[in-house]
Structures are given as structure tokens and as C-alpha cells.
């Protein structure tokens, strides 16, 4: 059993997805989905433990030896990401029952959970696999189900957003496919570890360069890195609230994982960061993204959309960390993956509670919410403070590492810009605070969000504070993982 953990991680939700259609009753399907997600969480915790104790695990599918067969390779990096994805998915799912019941028609709820599990399986697959082509397959599994999930949104705009995302996503995935094709042409292998060994001697080849360019571009599309982010705000703001929370907490993290995996493990840090001016590119794009997206966020009236732009900005920070490329900087990125998942998961769940009561979440509707929905609003304030990066919240920890990394490398301007970027977050978060606490309510008869949503929200918000104070777990794991990433590249 223990030896099969890597495959179990992926196959469990994948098999569970069609089973949902057999169960049919929405309540049972929800329970079933939750159970599957929880089981996946346990698997990922066991994996993380095992990897932390004994080093990377290699699992060959069907007994076919790598590099011919498909290998699942779990090291600290993907064990960490698997943990983030499963943990956040489980928490988000606990809130799903209440929110989905309200937002979706009964006959669509079963489909919703089926798609959710498929998307979940796809994301886990991307992270777990050690095979480049397999990445593409799982990417498409998760993407296709994501398009459908977004299209489930109430507004007709959801359809349009889903369509736009489908076009962008397919182009991105096809770029990745082309890149993988080039790599296969040059090396004759699809196994990532094998690729990593064969690419360095070929680093002068233009084909490898083209492969890198295609893969990089494809991933950036999925990652919604500025300026390829245009699909994200629409998709996030139109999708059902639970989907938004799930995607914000997990999907971008997985795309970021892919970027890390390809730049650091497959192509190697020498190729990616010293051969190409990728460091400048990533730092530059990241910072421009932080500013552009944050400034746009300030002017959004739809709060879901505002937070979606904020997500684009936060992706900018993570990419800056990759661009700087030292151990501290990578650690900052890995930490922020986890921390951002906690913040945005909590914030979007809080919005789910708002949508449950108000039907939408525009800034005008926030007036007086401090009094009518005190717990939801308090969650938004704490989550927002974490987003800004105040001490004693997780946001502070990752920002600390990022700034320290920048100063270590004498990149003072980066440090200053990172800091200024977080001030922009103050501007858009405070817009909410002012409306909620210092303006009279528009409608008096608004009730607090139901416990079914409130409890998971506060679970994540509490995690924001807990991991901001007791930072041992994330700091230790990410420190080891970033060492591993750089060490792995040096081999």
C-alpha cells in the first residue's frame, strides 16, 4: 500500500469522478467528494513525510522501467505542492455543500462534483508525474474540467469567460506540447530526470532553446503571468464561488510548480538563468505585474474581480522569487505558494458567504457589512491584512524572505518595489474596510453567512495567523525543497 502512494494520489480522484455520476444524489456526492479529497490529503501528508525522511520516491507505472515507462517521481518540491493542493481542496470542499446548493440548480450539482474531482485529479497528476508528456495530458484533463466548471457560473458572462479561457488555455497547452515535441526530437526521451541529464550537452542547440521558449510561454499562459493574465479575472469573477476559491488556491500554484520544475529540474538552473536573460525577464515581468494588476484592482467594483487581479499581482511576487533564483528567493516563492493559497482560499470563501447572502459582491454592497455580517467581514479584514503582509500573518513571512533575498543580492530596487507593491494592496483592501465599517448599510436585513461557509473560511483565516506565528513547518520544508531544487540543478 505504502509503496503505491504516488499513483494512489492521482488515481483516487480520477476513478472517483465517474463514480459520482452513479451516486447521483447531490448530498451524497458531496460527502463522497469530500471523503475522496480528504483521502488524497492523507496520502499527500504520508508522501510528504516519507519524502522528508528518506528522499525522493520513484514509482514506475505498470512496472515499466523509466525512461521507457511513465515514472512518477515525488521529491520535496512536488510533495509540498501536492500537500497544498489537497489540503486547500479539502477545506474548500467542506464549504461547497452550502454554497453549491445555493448557486447551482439541483440537476447540475452532481456534474459539478464530477468535474471538480476531474480537475482535482488533473492538478494532482501534473504535480506527481515525472514524465513530460504526461504533464500535457493531465494539464488538459484539469483545463477541460476547469472550462466546464467556470461555465457553470450563474451569469451568462461565465460562458463567455469560459470560452475565452478555453481558447487561451488550449493555445498554451499546445505550446507546451510543441515544446515537449522539440525536446523529444533532440533527446529521444520524455522522462524528466532523463531529460535533465541529456539537455546540458545540447544547451547550445537552437532547438532546445525553441523548446524552452514554447514551454515557458505555454506555462506562463496557464500561470496568468502578466501580460498573459487577461483570461484570469473574467474566469475568476464569473465562476461559481467555490470554483473561484478552489482555482485561486490551487490552479495557479500548480502552474507555478510547472514553471519551477521545467526551469530548475528539466532545463537546469544553468541553462535557464545564466544562458538566457530569464532572471531579468522574470523579475521585470513579475514586478510590472505586481504594479499593473494591483492598480487595476483598486478600481474594480466587483470584489471577486478585484481579488482576481490581486491574484495576478501575487503571482508576480512568486515569479520575482524565481527570477532572483537564490535559495532564499526560491524559498520565498515556495512559501508564498502556500501562504497565498491560504489567503486567497480564505478570502474567496468569505466572498462565497457574501454571495450566498447577497447574490453578488459589489463594493456598494459592502456598506455596513461590518455590522450585519461581522464574522465574514472580520475574516476579510484578517485575510486582507495577511495579503498586505502585516507581521503575525503568513503574508509577512513570505514577504520577509523575498525582501531579504533581494537585499542579499544587492537588488535594492527590487526590495523597494516589492515593498511599494504591498502598499497598493493596502489601497484596495482598505476600500472594503471603509465601506464595511464606516458607511451605513444599504439594506438592513442582511444576515451573517451560514456556518457551513463561515467555519471553513475561518479555518483558513486562522491558518493564516497560525502559520504566521508558528512558521516551523512551512519554513523547514521549503528551505529543504529550495536547497534540493538548486542542488538538483548542480548535478
Amino acid at each position: 500500500m505504502l509503496a503505491h502512494l504516488p499513483i494512489l494520489q492521482v488515481i483516487l480522484p480520477l476513478m472517483a469522478a465517474p463514480s459520482c455520476l452513479l451516486i447521483r444524489k447531490a448530498n451524497l456526492v458531496w460527502l463522497f467528494t469530500l471523503a475522496v479529497s480528504f483521502a488524497a490529503l492523507i496520502v499527500s501528508v504520508l508522501l510528504l513525510q516519507q519524502v522528508y525522511a528518506t528522499g525522493p520516491i520513484s514509482y514506475t507505472l505498470g512496472g515499466w522501467q523509466a525512461p521507457w515507462g511513465i515514472e512518477y517521481r515525488i521529491d520535496l518540491l512536488n510533495a509540498w505542492v501536492l500537500f497544498i493542493v489537497t489540503a486547500l481542496s479539502t477545506v474548500v470542499l467542506t464549504a461547497a455543500h452550502t454554497s453549491v446548493q445555493k448557486e447551482l440548480e439541483p440537476n447540475r450539482q452532481t456534474v459539478f462534483y464530477t468535474l471538480y474531482l476531474l480537475c482535482f485529479a488533473g492538478l494532482l497528476g501534473i504535480v506527481a508525474t515525472g514524465d513530460a508528456f504526461n504533464v500535457f495530458v493531465f494539464l488538459e484533463i484539469s483545463s477541460l474540467s476547469t472550462y466546464a466548471l467556470i461555465a457553470l457560473g450563474k451569469d451568462r458572462r461565465a460562458l463567455w469567460a469560459a470560452f475565452q479561457y478555453l481558447i487561451m488555455g488550449t493555445i498554451g497547452a499546445t505550446f507546451i506540447l510543441i515544446g515537449i515535441g522539440f525536446l523529444y526530437m533532440m533527446t529521444g526521451t520524455l522522462n524528466m530526470a532523463d531529460l535533465a541529464a541529456r539537455i546540458p550537452p545540447l544547451s547550445e542547440s537552437t532547438t532546445v532553446l525553441a523548446a524552452f521558449a514554447f514551454i515557458f510561454l505555454g506555462i506562463c499562459l496557464k500561470l496568468a503571468l502578466f501580460p498573459l493574465h487577461l483570461w484570469l479575472p473574467n474566469a475568476y469573477s464569473c465562476a461559481p464561488s467555490i470554483v473561484t476559491a478552489f482555482l485561486a488556491a490551487t490552479a495557479t500554484k500548480v502552474a507555478l510548480y510547472l514553471l519551477l520544475r521545467f526551469t530548475f529540474t528539466v532545463f537546469g538552473v544553468d541553462f535557464s538563468l545564466s544562458h538566457l536573460p530569464l532572471d531579468i525577464l522574470l523579475v521585470g515581468l513579475g514586478l510590472v505585474g505586481v504594479f499593473a494588476a494591483s492598480i487595476v484592482a483598486i478600481y474594480q467594483a466587483n470584489i471577486k474581480r478585484m481579488l482576481a487581479f490581486s491574484s495576478v499581482a501575487q503571482i508576480g511576487y512568486m515569479v520575482v522569487g524565481i527570477g532572483i533564483g537564490t535559495a532564499t528567493a526560491l524559498q520565498a516563492t515556495l512559501l508564498h505558494m502556500f501562504n497565498h493559497a491560504l489567503m486567497k482560499g480564505g478570502l474567496f470563501l468569505a466572498l462565497a458567504g457574501l454571495v450566498y447572502q447577497l447574490g453578488a459582491c459589489r463594493i456598494e454592497q459592502f456598506r455596513g457589512l461590518g455590522r450585519t455580517m461581522p464574522w465574514t467581514m472580520a475574516a476579510i479584514v484578517v485575510g486582507g491584512i495577511s495579503l498586505i503582509g502585516m507581521p503575525l500573518t503568513v503574508g509577512f513571512v513570505s514577504k520577509w524572505y523575498l525582501i531579504a533575498a533581494a537585499i542579499e543580492q544587492q537588488l535594492w530596487w527590487v526590495a523597494v518595489l516589492v515593498v511599494l507593491g504591498s502598499l497598493l494592496a493596502v489601497a484596495y483592501i482598505w476600500k472594503l474596510v471603509e465601506a464595511a465599517y464606516f458607511q451605513a448599510p444599504e439594506v438592513d436585513a442582511v444576515k451573517e453567512a451560514p456556518l457551513g461557509i463561515l467555519l471553513p473560511t475561518w479555518l483558513l483565516i486562522a491558518a493564516n495567523i497560525y502559520f504566521g506565528i508558528d512558521t516551523r513547518l512551512p519554513v523547514e520544508v521549503t528551505s529543504a525543497a529550495s536547497q534540493f531544487l538548486l542542488g538538483g540543478a548542480a548535478q
Binding site: P391, V419, F438
Partner: protein, 489 residues
């Protein structure tokens, strides 16, 4: 009870007070009794740390490590204790005053007001007792966040506008410069713990230290050094007790206290002297003093005038700290205390005038001395304290500051201090003098009858009498604080 637990208790009492205030929100009298009791208990707790500390006992608590090497830890050191003593004592008085003011003025959301007040004091205790810059930063930010709702208390457009400026500048400078400076210090020195004589090794590049000092001075926005002073006048939209305790004492004093502590315990006097930037920043503080005085002179709104006077006086304290001489530091620390008592009295008076006579502008106060003799007398005494004339404690701090400029041979600055003192006479003293001797007696003429005594509610009058007497008392017995300062510098 041993000293370490007393230290923890002083951090916990304000939080307990919040719980108590929230629980008794329905019954006004009980709620305010809780506030008063908590304030007195806090003062008693802090006061008990006084003797053990002077006897050389080390009082420290280590809570936990947030990141490796970054601890949430507290240690009592003399300057911190001085600050804590002043703040906790004035909390009692201000609560007393607030009871009269808030009721007399019929303010809304009083429970929120008292709770946040207690949290603010808790944050001040954290700042006073922080063992390292990191802990200090946490409480510094907490203080900003929990005073923000107090500034916007009224909820009007103007209040929200003021709140935005307040939050924008304070958070902006602290995250933009202060945090950056802290991280850089950490990377440079390997530690953030306060240490006598500074933490930088002698070989550290002077240019880098210059940049750091600049970042610190501008980053501690609460010290209101120009050009980052605008939040202070903006914060005057708050209810008067808030202006009194927070914007005359807790918040701004937290700012200058942090600066003093950084100069003394992060850089150290010797390092500070060797940095070329110190000179520039000294002149900046001088300019800040002078300009703020001139602006104060032109303000017609009483609270605004007092606010600019605060900006100017904060410049004195910063200047004293940057002089890097022992007299300068002493003067700086003493002025934290003296200015606290003086300015809080002035704000109390401003609030009392608002509640009793509904006046906010300076030119409306002529002849008011006959109606509110106690208030205006207190105003007079406190003005003397701010200016630094006997019989008030302000004399001592101004004396040491002058001595500091003398020691450092900064003749220009010395002249500047004198000019500014003259200016402060010009913008403060006419107010009480005209109130008593204002020729027109407009009130009497309008009413056509003899002036009736009409002071503010009794708790408020008691409060301002106590602080005004303290100003005089401190002339005779500055020793309480002087001993602490001598031990600290």
C-alpha cells in the same frame, strides 16, 4: 509575583480589558469602571517594575521564535519603562477624561472606542518593552491599525478622508522604509536585539549605515518628521480623548521613542557620530521644528494648532536623539515625558472647551477665562511646560537639549531651538492670556448678564487638573524619570 510575570501581565491586562469591555458593553457604568480598573492595574503593574530594574535586575521574557533568529521577546530597559510608565499613567487620566467627554458630547460606538483604546495601550506596552526590532515592528503596526478606527470614529466623509491620510502615511512609511531598514539591519548585523552601544560591528560601511539611518528616520513615520508629518493634523478629526492620548502621547511618542531607541541601542552613540548622514538628518529635524512652528502660528483651528505644535516638539526629540551626545539623549528622553504631560493637558483643555462652550477656533476664545477659569489656567501652565519655562517640568528637557547642542557644538541648531521657543510662545501663550484678559468680553456683552461658570463635566476637569499639576510637579521632582534615563544612557 516575580518581575518577568509582571512584564507579561502588563502586556495581557489591556487585552483582558478588551474582553471585559466587550462583555459589559450594555451597561455603560460597568464598562467604564472596567476601563478605569484596567488602567489603574496596568499602571500599578508597570510601576512595580521600577525598583527591580534600578536594582540591576534583568527582566525578560521570550515568547517564541517566529522565524529562525527572529523572536517575539520582551525585555524591560530603562527608557522603555519610562515610556510605559507615562503611557499607562496617562491611560488612567484619559479614561477619566473620556468618560466626561464622550457622554457630554454624546458620541456613538463608545464600546468600540474603549476597546480599541485598550488595544492601543497594549500595543504601546509591546513597543515599550520589545526586546528586538522585530517585536517592536509588530506592535508598531498593530498600533497603526488599531488607532485607525479611532481616527475615523465619526464615520463622516471628512473623518474617512483623514483616516486614509493617516493610514496611508503611517503604513506607507513603515512598510516602505522601516521594514526595509529592519531586514537590511538583520542581514548586515545578524541580529535585531537591542544592545547597549549598538549592534553593528565597527567595520560596517558608513555609506550603508547612512542609508539605513535615513530609512529609519523616515520609516518611523509616527515621529512625524517633515515631510511625513501630514497624518498628524489629519488625525485631528478624531474625538479629543483620542487626540489627547494617542496623538499627543501614545502614537507620536511611540515614534520618537522608537527613534531614540534605534539611535541609542541599534546604532549606538559612537557609531551615530561617525555617520555623515546624521548631520543632514539633524538639519532636517531642525527645519521640521522651525516650519511646523511657523505653520502652527498660522492655524486658527485650536486642535490643528496644537497638532502642528506637536510636530514641532517631536522635532526637538528627534534632534536630541540624533545629536549623539549624552546630554542630547537625556534631553530627548526627558522631553518625551514633559511634552506628554504638557500636550495632553492642552488637548484636554481643547476638548473641554468644545464640550462646554462648543468652540473650536482660536479667535473665539477671547474672554473664555471667566467662564472656564480652571481649564484656562491649566492651559496656561501646560503652555509653559511645552515652551520650557519654569515653574514647569519642560524647563529641564529644554535645558538638556540646549546643553546637547552646546556639547555637539551645533551653534546653528542652538539658535534654531531658541527661535522656535520664541515662536512657541507666540502661538501658545496668547490663547490663555486673551481668554483671561481679552478686552471685549464678548460673552458678557451678548448675554447681557454676568458670566456664569460653566466648566466641562467634572471627570474631565479633574483629569486636566491632574495633568497640569503634574507639569509643575515634574519641575520639582524630575528625579523619578531622570534616574531611569541616566540608567538607560
Amino acid at each position: 509575583m516575580n518581575s518577568a510575570s509582571l512584564l507579561q501581565l502588563s502586556l495581557v491586562i489591556p487585552l483582558l480589558a478588551v474582553v471585559g469591555i466587550q462583555l459589559t458593553a450594555r451597561r455603560e457604568n460597568v464598562r467604564e469602571a472596567v476601563s478605569l480598573i484596567a488602567a489603574s492595574a496596568l499602571f500599578a503593574t508597570v510601576a512595580q517594575l521600577y525598583l527591580p530594574l534600578l536594582n540591576g535586575q534583568t527582566i525578560a521574557v521570550h515568547w517564541l521564535d517566529i522565524l529562525p533568529g527572529l523572536a517575539l521577546a520582551f525585555r524591560v530597559e530603562p527608557l522603555g519603562l519610562m515610556f510605559a510608565l507615562v503611557a499607562s499613567f496617562l491611560w488612567i487620566i484619559t479614561t477619566l477624561y473620556a468618560i466626561g467627554y464622550m457622554r457630554g458630547h454624546g458620541e456613538q460606538n463608545q464600546t468600540r472606542f474603549y476597546s480599541l483604546f485598550a488595544v492601543s495601550i497594549g500595543a504601546v506596552m509591546g513597543i515599550a518593552f520589545a526586546e528586538n526590532l522585530f517585536t517592536l515592528f509588530i506592535f508598531y503596526e498593530l498600533l497603526t491599525l488599531c488607532t485607525y478606527p479611532l481616527v475615523t470614529h465619526a464615520g463622516t466623509d471628512k473623518a474617512r478622508q483623514g483616516g486614509r491620510t493617516y493610514l496611508g502615511i503611517l503604513l506607507g512609511t513603515s512598510v516602505g522604509f522601516f521594514l526595509l531598514a529592519i531586514i537590511a539591519t538583520w542581514l548586515l548585523a545578524g541580529t535585531l536585539s537591542f544592545k547597549q552601544g549598538g549592534i553593528f560591528s565597527p567595520g560596517t560601511s558608513v555609506a550603508l549605515l547612512s542609508v539605513l539611518l535615513g530609512l529609519f528616520v523616515f520609516g518611523v513615520g509616527k515621529a512625524a518628521i517633515m515631510p511625513f508629518h501630514r497624518w498628524l493634523p489629519a488625525a485631528m478629526v478624531a474625538p479629543t480623548p483620542v487626540s489627547a492620548l494617542l496623538h499627543a502621547v501614545a502614537v507620536v511618542k511611540a515614534g520618537v521613542f522608537v527613534l531614540l531607541k534605534i539611535c541609542l541601542l541599534i546604532f549606538g552613540i559612537d557609531t551615530l557620530k561617525s555617520i555623515p548622514a546624521t548631520e543632514w538628518l539633524l538639519y532636517l529635524a531642525g527645519v521640521s521644528i522651525l516650519f511646523a512652528s511657523i505653520i502652527a502660528l498660522r492655524q486658527q483651528n485650536l486642535k490643528k494648532r496644537l497638532a502642528y505644535s506637536t510636530v514641532s516638539q517631536l522635532g526637538y526629540i528627534t534632534l536630541g536623539a540624533l545629536l549623539a551626545t549624552s546630554a542630547g539623549m537625556t534631553g530627548s528622553a526627558l522631553h518625551i515625558v514633559m511634552h506628554a504631560f504638557g500636550k495632553i493637558t492642552l488637548f484636554f483643555c481643547a476638548g473641554a472647551i468644545l464640550v462646554a462652550a462648543h468652540k473650536t477656533e482660536v479667535n473665539e476664545l477671547r474672554g473664555l477665562g471667566r467662564q472656564m477659569p480652571v481649564t484656562m489656567t491649566a492651559f496656561f501652565v501646560a503652555s509653559l511646560c511645552i515652551i520650557g519655562i519654569p515653574p514647569t517640568g519642560g524647563t529641564w528637557s529644554k535645558w538638556y537639549l540646549m546643553l546637547g547642542t552646546f556639547e555637539a557644538e551645533q551653534w546653528i541648531l542652538m539658535a534654531l531651538l531658541m527661535i522656535s521657543s520664541l515662536l512657541s510662545i507666540a502661538y501658545l501663550l496668547p490663547i490663555p492670556l486673551q481668554a483671561f484678559f481679552g478686552g471685549k468680553k464678548p460673552l458678557e456683552i451678548e448675554a447681557g448678564t454676568a458670566v456664569v461658570l460653566k466648566e466641562a463635566p467634572l471627570p474631565s476637569v479633574i483629569a486636566l487638573t491632574v495633568t497640569a499639576s503634574a507639569c509643575v510637579y515634574l519641575l520639582l521632582y524630575p528625579d523619578i524619570f531622570y534616574r531611569l534615563i541616566a540608567a538607560g544612557i
